[in-house]
């Protein structure tokens, strides 16, 4: 209903939108906060603007927080439940099998040669072979072709960086584990990309050293797609496409 601003009370008309957008400072910010607490119409208007703009947050690439962050949050939760509850074993869930597999792969990755060997192994047995009886992982009964997990070993001749990605089609969960060479660098993030065969890169998230990045995808991944990691400004490429060098890449293959 505010349509075009009327010249007289322009600043006032836009206060809710500008507050929602985060533009206000100083006196106007103070006024907005005051009205937020005692003006229901203003509060509703801010809510409407926030709702309109919130889909922008979908553009932001996910990034794995440090592994120990939950342990810092749990004690800060007021109310019920003692430290025992807070530190109970993970009540979740379907990630556990993947974590176990990743732990195993991380073991491999300790030696880059072992990683390269396992990559060669996966590739060697891939073409139309029946389930691999001697697969070096305790991957429970090999599921039907369409639901078999996919794996990508990401690497590059020009960098020491190695990452291992596993994708579970049933849950559409993708877990990316930095295995070697990834270092924290001020002013840079390492961004993960999905490159469908013959398609443009999609940003998937930010990978950080020593921390698995877990993603729940809403679309299915095909085995011919490539995963890659590039060096980008902190927080990810501002353009939605890779802007820096690719330090590791690898194709998704069936396990």
């Amino acid at each position: 209903m505010t349509g075009e601003p009327d010249p007289g009370g322009e600043a006032r008309d836009w206060l809710a939108a500008e507050y929602a957008l985060g533009l206000l400072e100083g006196d106007l910010l103070a006024e907005a906060r005051r009205r937020l607490s005692d003006d229901p119409d203003f509060r509703r208007e801010v809510g409407e603007w926030t709702g309109r703009l919130a889909p922008l947050l979908d553009e932001v690439a996910p990034a794995a927080p440090p592994e120990d962050l939950w342990r810092r949050i749990a004690p800060r939760l007021a109310g019920a439940g003692g430290p025992a509850a807070a530190h109970a074993p993970a009540a979740n869930d379907n990630l556990a099998p993947l974590q176990r597999k990743l732990a195993l792969w991380r073991g491999y990755a300790a030696a880059a040669t072992a990683l390269a060997a396992s990559l060669a192994f996966f590739l060697a047995v891939r073409p139309g072979e029946p389930p691999v009886p001697s697969a070096p992982t305790p991957v429970a009964p090999v599921p039907a072709a369409g639901s078999a997990p996919l794996v990508a070993m990401m690497e590059s001749k020009d960098s020491p960086v190695r990452l291992v990605a596993t994708y579970e089609p049933a849950s559409r969960s993708l877990v990316v584990m930095p295995a070697a060479g990834l270092a924290r660098a001020a002013g840079h993030s390492h961004q993960l990309w999905l490159i469908p065969a013959g398609g443009a890169p999609h940003p998937l998230g930010i990978v950080t050293p020593d921390t698995p990045l877990r993603l729940a995808l809403s679309g299915a991944l095909a085995p011919d797609a490539t995963l890659a990691v590039s060096v980008e400004p902190t927080g990810g490429s501002p353009t939605g496409l890779p802007t820096g060098p690719v330090i590791a890449s690898g194709k998704l293959v069936r396990t």
Partner: protein, 195 residues
């Protein structure tokens, strides 16, 4: 495309994930810490990404993320599944916590803004996220109808925490010009979204 979009966009989120998160939030509202832990496991990469994008510093993003989940724990009872999806509700909390931190440090150290300073290209691919729902697509379509400087300013403010003076400095225009650009942009955006 490697992405098989035979499901309607956002269908998974609507049905499965959304429901699970809504249930987890309901349990959290009842004081269930294990539900809180599940909520954290499912949503923290998304929310950490938002904090990192706004703040441009991992250390600060970690602080903002902690504040986000403490706030979610306290406010879970106020979540209304009829008004917002759980992930949107959480994403807004994360974004607001990150912006609050940005405001606190701004007078001292306005660094980190560089990382979001040049959203050079408003191509749809930037918004072509895997979780894109209908509303996200509508917003991005409507942003495309604005002048590029307007959509750049709106993204820079909402996602990057930029203030009017910062936006004006980036574009090299007077403050008043930037204000009227943004307001005109918001006005057109609203009209487009309501059409």
């Amino acid at each position: 495309m490697g992405l098989n979009m035979d499901l309607p966009a956002g269908a998974l989120r609507e049905s499965g994930e959304r429901l699970r998160l809504a249930e987890a939030l309901a349990s959290v509202a009842a004081g269930d810490k294990s539900a809180m832990k599940e909520l954290y496991a499912r949503t923290s990469p998304k929310l950490f990404g938002i904090c990192l994008r706004v703040l441009g510093s991992e250390a600060e993003a970690e602080e903002a993320l902690q504040e986000t989940y403490v706030a979610a724990w306290r406010k879970a009872g106020a979540f209304d599944s009829g008004r917002a999806s759980p992930i949107t509700w959480l994403a807004i909390i994360a974004r607001n916590k990150a912006i609050d931190r940005l405001r606190l440090r701004r007078p001292i150290a306005p660094d980190g803004l560089d990382s979001v300073a040049a959203i050079a290209d408003d191509s749809p691919s930037a918004a072509d996220a895997l979780e894109q729902a209908d509303e996200a697509r509508r917003l991005s379509v409507c942003l495309e109808t604005l002048d590029s400087v307007q959509s750049r300013a709106i993204r820079g403010a909402f996602l990057g925490g930029a203030s009017y003076p910062e936006l004006a400095a980036r574009e090299g225009v007077p403050l008043g010009t930037m204000k009227s650009w943004v307001r005109r942009g918001l006005s057109r955006l609203k009209t487009c979204l309501e059409s």
